[in-house]
Symmetry: D2
Subunit: 391 residues, 4 copies
Amino acid sequence: MSGTRNAQGDNRPIRLGMVGGGRDAFIGAVHRIAARLDGHFELVAGAFSATAEKSLASGRDLGLPDDRIYGDFAQMARREARLGKGIEAVAIVTPNHMHYRPAREFLRRGIHVICDKPLTATLTDARKLVKLAERSEALFVLTHNYTGYPMVRQAHAMVEDGDLGSLRLVQVEYAQDWLSEKVEDTGLKQAGWRTDPERSGAGGSTGDIGTHAFNLAQFVTGLEVDELAADLHSFVEGRRLDDNAHVMLRFRGGARGTLWCSQVAPGSENGLKLRVYGDRGGLEWHQEEPNRLWFTPLGEPKRLITRNGAGAGAAAGRLSRVPAGHPEGYLEGFANIYAEAAAAIRARRAGTAPEAAVTFPTIRDGLAGMAFIDACVRSSKRNAAWTKLAL
Amino acid sequence: MSGTRNAQGDNRPIRLGMVGGGRDAFIGAVHRIAARLDGHFELVAGAFSATAEKSLASGRDLGLPDDRIYGDFAQMARREARLGKGIEAVAIVTPNHMHYRPAREFLRRGIHVICDKPLTATLTDARKLVKLAERSEALFVLTHNYTGYPMVRQAHAMVEDGDLGSLRLVQVEYAQDWLSEKVEDTGLKQAGWRTDPERSGAGGSTGDIGTHAFNLAQFVTGLEVDELAADLHSFVEGRRLDDNAHVMLRFRGGARGTLWCSQVAPGSENGLKLRVYGDRGGLEWHQEEPNRLWFTPLGEPKRLITRNGAGAGAAAGRLSRVPAGHPEGYLEGFANIYAEAAAAIRARRAGTAPEAAVTFPTIRDGLAGMAFIDACVRSSKRNAAWTKLAL
Amino acid sequence: MSGTRNAQGDNRPIRLGMVGGGRDAFIGAVHRIAARLDGHFELVAGAFSATAEKSLASGRDLGLPDDRIYGDFAQMARREARLGKGIEAVAIVTPNHMHYRPAREFLRRGIHVICDKPLTATLTDARKLVKLAERSEALFVLTHNYTGYPMVRQAHAMVEDGDLGSLRLVQVEYAQDWLSEKVEDTGLKQAGWRTDPERSGAGGSTGDIGTHAFNLAQFVTGLEVDELAADLHSFVEGRRLDDNAHVMLRFRGGARGTLWCSQVAPGSENGLKLRVYGDRGGLEWHQEEPNRLWFTPLGEPKRLITRNGAGAGAAAGRLSRVPAGHPEGYLEGFANIYAEAAAAIRARRAGTAPEAAVTFPTIRDGLAGMAFIDACVRSSKRNAAWTKLAL
Amino acid sequence: MSGTRNAQGDNRPIRLGMVGGGRDAFIGAVHRIAARLDGHFELVAGAFSATAEKSLASGRDLGLPDDRIYGDFAQMARREARLGKGIEAVAIVTPNHMHYRPAREFLRRGIHVICDKPLTATLTDARKLVKLAERSEALFVLTHNYTGYPMVRQAHAMVEDGDLGSLRLVQVEYAQDWLSEKVEDTGLKQAGWRTDPERSGAGGSTGDIGTHAFNLAQFVTGLEVDELAADLHSFVEGRRLDDNAHVMLRFRGGARGTLWCSQVAPGSENGLKLRVYGDRGGLEWHQEEPNRLWFTPLGEPKRLITRNGAGAGAAAGRLSRVPAGHPEGYLEGFANIYAEAAAAIRARRAGTAPEAAVTFPTIRDGLAGMAFIDACVRSSKRNAAWTKLAL
């Protein structure tokens, strides 16, 4: 992950388009940095807003020529597909309800899709998209970016290597505080769509951050949630979607756990934390200190493994750019997903297999996330009855 | 809490007896230090073991004269009650199933009881003991010792003062790892009775540490759990009681929360942690760093309040012995319960009201704890159905 | 620092060349990411190695056309200066002794220089370069990258705003462990030149990391070291330059402090830590947890200020890309220096003043760093006698 | 350290007297708790104040009979020595200038002395006291209490066992903030004598806390400081003794280090921290989190060793009372010194050798501390010239 491109193969940057991500959008800017950080992608086109003028202004801010700035994702898909040097991949960074249709248009035309999470606004759309994606020659990459952190990969590798023994417990949480008050009424755009079932889907905190926690837990442990019991609640009066969820988990194979996500926990910024315990050891990782991983083998002193430091293995090293003690953060983790997408795209360009197995999150992870939201909502409506994930 | 005794009143040490706590017992030694630390109590008698020789040997270790060492708590209760300078209070530090009967004998004779938790082995016994205690002139003090930590008192005071606003969320957990393997089969005495339903009651980790977590949550918040949904499990094959519990909580008044207790989480020593969130702020406290309390008012920088440091109020200061930065720990917190018990006992001696309201845990807290275990077990049997506490 | 370019002005990327930074070099890759991260620069040319073939291979790795890959910095300076679209700025990322001559060549031709630290290998060269730079129309930017961390800017602003009162104490340290053994003998390139006085100059750890600590202390406090007493030592037998330094500091105006730098402290990765105390409060910052800043006003609870969180001001916010709780790290801090350089270069392009005062480290900081090394070496030779900085 | 007394031998509590420690004194109360905590001592007499009425009132607070409360240490020494059951040991807890004379009186009479640090107010007195003590049959115990922490013993054992290899570096500091303002003018008794050369001696922060840091460094490493260069300063205007000291250290055998002590560092409570580095590993310990010890073997993951947890050895376990994860603190560490003193005193009673080598701090440690203060003051007067310790 040195920032150098593959010297053997075709190392030209991949031509990238973007849907959404106009001025004031948060996640669009993140995707652009992630795409650019290692030099694997070059942003060449975009439909940055549903309003043509806003899209134009945003695209100009980004230095794009006017003829590659679109007011409409469908128009962009059609035209870029016909250009000799049209986009090879598209990043979809719109609110949830606007993932499905753009993804469909680009996949149909063989343009690789890099899509923000959750996959769609409804489980029905998710299922349709899975079918489309699996019939398409194009790749579908879901930016569950937290799995891109090197020490998350380290954790995954340690579990896989049996360092924890047989897994018993998974405790995962994602706590924030930015929705502690009814900020959706103040015009805050980020809060507006996230608390609106029309745009966000059936899950509030569950969809926005619970899916990240769920994905992280499944990624690190390699386990699948079989059933869950969820107590969803909106603490802020008048809020239309859950802003807090307590979820008990039962995994296939017998492990159990809990998932807590909240957007009303004052003092919490992006408190995504994972703890996994097996019969031989435990692991603990916090997103806010991502370069550190605690490993606690039963009956031995606690060990703190640092990114690129002693004890960190190849899975983490491969995604590291700087030495131990020089922190890498959220953007680097996000860029790792883009870098893995780039490697896969280049392998397709070259007609070769990628060097390693696919590690970035795929549409199947997206479907699992939608099934998680769906199960949470159904369980909570039945007073937290145990509910199977409908995969 | 200066270690000086009340100068105004009768400052002779209170004569204390002990039931249980012989050689090799852990908690008996803790009670003795807690009783002695501030000079409020003097151990003068004991029935340290059900085996007379062991009791004698243990009592001699402690420097007691042979005629104050008993082989039987009933004999001790009878004789001490008749002595001119017999014990004024007794510490009961036996396994759970041996709390009820000794407590009954001493309460009947007007001897104050300081009893380890949980209150009894069964909810039925607990209810009977409540009646006995409330008819007795003697005090009943339950050593939910974690409420004796100064910063737990600080947290309680801050919630009461409204610093967090209206409470919404309570996350509490108590994780250990010492039962990760089947150590009850190795002859480890501590593990033996804790995993034996005959001696421990219906709860395993639930009773041993879950009750502490439950008590701490209720103490700090002043809220009462109305109903819970519990998923209890024994991960270690052949274990007869739960070694892990996931519990969702609904409090009267609308707050919600989760409680996790585990004795199979490698790397966890005594990981009792409490987080409370209201609409205006949050609090976080860890038993392993007990001199620190995080206060996170919404929209302001996080604040770290230290025992006896700036921002710590009278409730904490009253229970502190040394300046900020000089850590006080588990024994001091335990001793604070004894010190408060001593103040109440002295007030009874003097026929006066105690200076402040009762703050030590009482038999009512013990009953609540038993109702918690009972509800957990019932809920878990019904596949984690919501279950009211039977108070 | 949104990753969007200045919409008002000329937002084309700045054409960047590089001297050094070939395959296997660490800091060259860092500079390239930092330059690219916000899209302000585009690498278009380079003399990546003194060996022509290596330079060519490295440049091709980076996707550069062969005619922009040079075997020699002088040739690159001459040719690029004549090209219509030649480089506008050059990053010099060679070992210390190879800073002065390239810098001179580019400055002479009006090409902006972004140079790694320390400024040069000798104080004499540094003084000459200052004269050259101050006569040149081109900018000189020194990548003391740690000053690019948002919370370092926050600390600087708080000191300037008087939040600490009158400064008394500055404790700064930078500890590593990678030279604990004689790795320079194993062929490790990074260690080879850093322990070689011919290439590194008179300072070992003093020059490599001590200058960072020194620069950070002066930047945050706004104070200047007047004199110092230094005890330099090489613990590893046969090492030619210091691998550890203890330095006592006296600042103009009366503040005092210590600086410790070490490359032989096992367990230390990049342990750069700064603590500043005034008569009204203190600050503490660690490079390994860069998104956090402790502020300890005298007599008030400790406060933890987080990047983009409550209590963080404009100086930090201006250099932040993602919300609080999503960590930014070393590369982002480094990129902030590049972004500020870009703003200054664009202002020169446009013939306007930059929006804000220069905040990136300049050649004057570089001279101060060289004076620091020089004073340390002179003091240590005189058995740690107090020695004035020869500025 | 179970709180049980030695069952084989004479397990009656040792009769203890106290000089100083009247109402409002801080350290006297600490000594009393430490003496009482494990039941090894019983306070039976005292000269608590130079004012007879104050002494009487203080003694009565403590429940002593009037005939064992003295207005004068000399009278106490004379009378107690003649009593059949007079004191066997005395705790001297007065300001520094009042250590020498009482110690002399009790030593002369064969009464064991447990004395607070620093040893005396002057190096001359210290030397005289060493002679007296070494001629006396009574023990002399100096309460450098921080060496009583179990994890400090663990650190000592690990150094001794060679876990760090050959020692190179020792970084020690003790920072407080309580003298940041001129509180000695406000009537604060603790500040009054500590800033008064007549009562405190030549060292301010150097004597009060620097000696602790010095002692801790020497204890853990087993190394002796050969020479030092000290920059002492009083930041608070009009203060008569140093409130901050920067000291560079050179140990016999080649290790080097720094010592920083300060009482004007806002936000610092009792920030005593030690870091030791050898060629094979490092150690780090903080007094404010005393149950944890970081061990960082070169090239291996960092390890966190906890008191009574995995990896902690016999030296720590012997001084622990409760399981890992139940914090022990300042008072327990202090009590460990008292417990070791008790073991030695009982061995003398029994005419047997103590079970283990003497581990509590002795008068030789006190002399070293006085030599440290003396060298600091002399060095600082000569502008931080290197100065040998005059042992």
